[in-house]
Subunit: 337 residues, 2 copies
């Protein structure tokens, strides 16, 4: 019998939460601003309250005997085995280490009478797992999810299981260096993928002497002649209308992404890539040059099976993945180490 679980995506802005059926996908969902000011204990109270509300609603129609538990994806370094979250960005006051899993479990039991299996995971990993089970990576045994947005992140699936790495921080493709002699410095590191094609950088690139977005009448129109307000969305629209500056910019973004993916192939022998995040909405504008560059930048002996596909779950990948971790708790690697 298919079970159901509650998946949570804890972000610095919002908490996204949903009841996910193992075969049905999302059944009910809710989003609420994160009460960051309340600190970790306050956020745990808020989480428990939201879980309780959704659990009660689910219990009206679903068999509570098939409830698999609560999965939570969180930003920052997650020690999945111990259930601890360290230094989550955008969650001030959480300090070096907070026992999020046990605190949530305790609060649920003591304040709401809900005894449940709780599992926590890094949000990028949860998203990768979501795409693996419910989304764009479903056909792949091994792949990397790369999310293109304000930051560039990722999660790695090997043999259908999450690859966390020895310290739980694997998948930081945004901090891979591809241009160590270049001029871009981001978070103190020169020539990283995120420093080259993070969201802000794409707009800067468009306005660079190389691309000269300012000379495009269409882009000027889209941003009301205020190029400080130019967005990736404008570049996407202009490119789809054939604007040269916008097309060249996306081509360059795809080119650099392709170099990064080639490094993943060289090192890990991973040949399937699922691309998500807001910037990935540009689709083939990025994927086509990325694929071309991925081929050019890898040895011919590694060309078999190279593939780039879009992610399918959008900003719900994290919820899906967090819930899926409950369905497959014993199957996902390293959880019981």
């Amino acid at each position: 019998m298919p079970s159901w679980a509650i998946g949570i995506d804890l972000g610095g802005t919002n908490i996204k939460i949903a009841v996910v059926g193992e075969s049905e996908g999302i059944l009910f969902e809710d989003t609420q601003p994160t009460d960051t000011a309340a600190g970790p204990d306050g956020v745990v109270r808020q989480l428990a309250f939201l879980v309780d509300a959704l659990y009660q609603r689910a219990a009206e129609t679903l068999d509570t005997g098939l409830f698999a538990g609560i999965g939570l994806g969180a930003p920052g370094a997650v020690d999945a085995a111990k259930g601890a979250l360290s230094y989550p960005p955008n969650l001030p006051g959480w300090g070096q280490r907070y026992d999020l899993r046990d605190q949530l479990r305790l609060r649920l039991e003591q304040a709401h009478g809900i005894k449940a299996f709780v599992i926590i995971e890094n949000d990028a990993n949860a998203a990768a797992y979501g795409e693996a089970i419910f989304g764009g990576g479903n056909a792949f045994r091994d792949f990397m999810l790369v999310t293109l947005g304000t930051g560039v992140g990722g999660g790695i699936i090997l043999d259908r299981k999450l690859y966390r790495g020895p310290f739980g921080t694997a998948g930081e493709i945004g901090f891979m260096i591809v241009d160590f002699e270049g001029t871009s410095v981001h978070a103190g590191i020169r020539g990283t993928i995120e420093g080259l094609i993070g969201k802000e950088r794409i707009v800067e690139m468009a306005c660079s002497p190389e691309m000269q977005a300012e000379r495009s009448p269409r882009l000027a129109e889209l941003c009301n002649r205020d190029f400080s307000r130019l967005s990736p969305r404008h570049l996407e629209q202009a490119a789809k209308e054939g604007d040269e500056a916008a097309l060249r910019t996306w081509e360059r973004v795809g080119f650099i992404l392709g170099v990064g993916l080639a490094n993943v192939t060289a090192l890990m022998d991973i040949r399937k890539f699922v691309i998500g995040g807001g910037i990935a909405a540009a689709g083939e504008l990025i994927f086509e040059p990325a694929m071309m560059q991925l081929h050019r930048s890898t040895l011919p002996s590694m060309h078999d099976g190279l593939e780039i596909v879009p992610a399918r779950l959008g900003n719900k990948a994290g919820i899906y993945g967090a819930a899926a971790l409950c369905f497959n708790a014993e199957k996902s690697s390293g959880l019981d180490d």
Copy 2:
């Protein structure tokens, strides 16, 4: 009771072979030029002959009931599960796919009456496994062996097991791109680690306008004023005597290596590196700047546990590793997939 095995390192120049005791290490060994002209079947006959000779010698003093089998490391793409070798570089005429494991097993049985477990593995992987079991990686649960020589290669150990990757070609750190805008092109790819710090490149680097090895009296002396004959060994000696051009060259090599290692840490969360190969004889001349750069090029949240140590088995790592694969056949990942 500790068992023993025969380890083979099949190279384009030599076949190295040894009887390896699980606790004693190498007991007897032999090296013989590879009869490359004889093609795959001829090399298999040669291998079987060498195995037979060493097996008979071992059987005089060792318990044949404790013979674990024959492990063979080979260059090129190895399908460890199927025992096939594809396109081994420096072994002309081997074609796209040769069933090396089964052919060797058959030949041993039919021509020599030896029925044995045979396992084949990519040579860089075998070397990594050798360092993991008998060498510099013995203290590490997870590490990457990086070999610096004519080429730059590597093998990855995760959770004390070999990580082969989905297609068996993982660990190609030499083909990781760190300078995609640079001038170096190697095997058709721009800005790879091997294209920047492969053996030949190091000598070129020393003679570049930046390093100006030609201006060093000591280096001129070491290469008899013929800078086309300058070798890494000369650079090593001069640097140890304080020669500025040589010191700057090694610093630069270490710097670039450190960038590559940082990428491994970002992507795979591996923080331990074992450095081998002929060039690694330069030791701290490379390791120190590499470690400095590894720190500078990784996020502070990934600094815990970063370590660079020398490989300990030299050019015998492959023999050790191939033999060790027999001792731990069921434990090493993916062999029975």
